[in-house]
């Protein structure tokens, strides 16, 4: 290791580079782009080489059944623990897990697909007031203010944040299923529901949803956020 460092990247073989990359991802604390990693590795290394090395490293992790993998998140790479190990990690960190109410998720989804979007437009889609939900999403920094629309009243525009990509493990917004794919899913579900007896697609779609959505997801959003307790600019994220 010390040898590799003193020689610079020129003398590093793929094995040594993988080792450095692993260390960088461990220490970075946030997703790091292939470009940045290439720069850190030095001279000869190109971003595409970094991508190949990371793919190889990730394949190694998979092969050795490690507890984490390399994920592409928010335009960069990050080490992340395997979702199936979540119960253990939750026991390790007894803090309340991230909670998102159904209202919060729906509002996020609308913003993600229609950004930048005004509050009035959001409310038109959902058919309800979204003030409290929006405030909560802003506080959690899943949503950011993306300026004003230059119309009378200059309403504020909302967009999803980099943090949104990080939390949802998306490499970019393009990672989201397209609305056409969403409609496809809806159609499949409707078809499956119609032909209940012979429905083969249904279990595949429904099962992971049931598994992965913790009970508290659909609870009253007031548990997450109490608009009445909002004291001016005191961030009202409550600890539950």
């Amino acid at each position: 290791m010390a040898d590799a460092e003193s020689e610079g990247s020129g003398g590093m073989d793929a094995q040594a580079k993988r080792q450095v990359l692993e260390a960088l991802l461990l220490a970075a604390g946030e997703p790091v782009s292939a470009q940045k990693l290439a720069g850190v590795l030095g001279e000869g290394t190109t971003p595409s080489e970094v991508r190949e090395l990371l793919d190889a490293l990730d394949a190694e992790y998979a092969e050795q059944a490690r507890g984490f993998r390399i994920e592409q998140v928010a335009g960069g790479y990050q080490l992340r623990t395997l979702p199936e190990l979540a119960p253990f990690l939750q026991r390790l960190r007894p803090q309340p897990p991230l909670r998102l109410s159904r209202a919060a998720l729906e509002t996020l989804a609308i913003i993600a697909y229609k950004q930048p979007i005004t509050r009035a437009e959001l409310e038109h889609v959902r058919g309800v007031d979204v003030g409290a939900v929006l405030a909560s999403l802003l506080e959690r920094r899943l949503v950011r203010i993306a300026g004003h629309r230059e119309v009378p009243g200059r309403p504020m525009l909302y967009a999803t944040s980099r943090r949104f990509l990080e939390v949802f493990g998306l490499s970019s917004l393009a990672d989201l299923p397209t609305l056409r794919e969403i409609e496809e899913l809806l159609r499949e579900r409707a078809a499956a529901a119609a032909g209940e007896a012979g429905g083969e697609t249904e279990p595949e779609i429904a099962a992971p949803a049931a598994e992965q959505a913790p009970a508290d997801d659909a609870e009253d959003e007031d548990d997450d956020f109490d608009p009445d307790a909002d004291p001016g600019f005191e961030p009202p994220i409550t600890t539950h």
């Binding site: 604390g29 309800v128 920094r141 203010i145 299923p177 529901a193 119609a194 049931a210």
Partner: protein, 280 residues
């Protein structure tokens, strides 16, 4: 909530507990449906109705029955539900009338069309939300290494924490210059909140660990921000300093006196947003 994804059909999930006599005394909080559109979609799903050819009379009846139930349960029926009830009644009446072609309306336009379009759109986003909810979420299903602490401030840079007075002075200077920047006076009511500016400051600090105080008071084109933004930004910075999400520095000159621009630095213990969120 055991067998369903969070974004679809919360409706079935919450059973109605009939109230005991005198039930008005205990207030129950059951936002069973997330608004009138959600309720309508639930009714449609339950009866496997065709959204594009909505049997409006049937849906309107069930909708009203549901509102009645909510009232009996002493649930607050939000205004939005009543507006939708009126809309349904209107559509129903229009369906009964022969098309008149009055008021320049399109011949044969389906009075349900707008509602159907809204329902379809909302349904799409409910599905999109369900898809989002299935992803392994950071902090719920997956975790990432927190990273190493940022390196200490290099000795050569020798910084001291800025006193409140120095900060106030810098702010006053900005306010004075902003006032005399010679633009024609333009009355714009600007809805700017301290919270918004806190988010903006944190965003800036996330993009770069050190940010010049003054740069936060300027617009992207280099001019001074409006007075409302200046004040809100200043309060936001103070608040963030109070909750230790950032620290405020200035370089030390040759004689030990502070000099040069005032800089904001992300709090050392990692993520400013962690502090921001924890402060609540």
């Amino acid at each position: 909530m055991s067998s369903e994804s969070p974004a679809t059909g919360a409706g079935q999930a919450v059973p109605f507990e009939p109230l005991a006599e005198g039930g008005a005394a205990c207030s129950i909080r059951l936002p069973v449906f997330d608004g009138p559109l959600d309720l309508l979609l639930h009714l449609i799903r339950e009866d496997e109705l065709d959204i594009t050819d909505l049997p409006i009379a049937q849906v309107a009846r069930q909708y009203l029955e549901y509102l009645e139930l909510m009232r009996e349960l002493h649930l607050d029926v939000a205004a939005e539900y009543l507006v939708m009830a009126a809309t349904l009644a209107w559509i129903k009446s229009r369906m009964l009338l022969p098309p008149t072609g009055e008021e320049g309306e399109e011949e044969g336009a389906d009075p349900r069309a707008e509602l159907v379009a809204r329902l379809l759109e909302y349904q799409r986003f409910q599905e999109a939300a369900a898809e989002l909810a299935q992803r392994p979420l950071l902090g719920r299903e997956t975790w990432a290494p927190p990273g190493v602490a940022p390196p200490p401030v290099p000795e050569s840079e020798r910084e001291i924490e800025v006193s409140l007075l120095a900060l106030l002075e810098a702010f006053r200077r900005a306010m004075r210059q902003a006032k005399t920047s010679g633009h024609a006076h333009e009355v714009v009511t600007e809805a700017v909140t301290v919270r918004e500016r806190m988010v903006a400051v944190i965003d800036a600090l996330e993009a770069s660990e050190v940010v010049e105080f003054e740069s936060l008071l300027r617009t992207p084109d280099g001019g001074w921000a409006s007075r409302a933004v200046l004040v809100a930004t200043f309060l936001a910075i103070l608040e963030l300093a109070r909750i230790s999400a950032l620290r405020i520095y200035q370089s030390v000159g040759a004689h030990g006196a502070p000099e040069g621009p005032i800089r904001l630095r992300r709090a050392a213990e990692g993520d400013p947003r962690a502090r921001f969120e924890a402060a609540g």
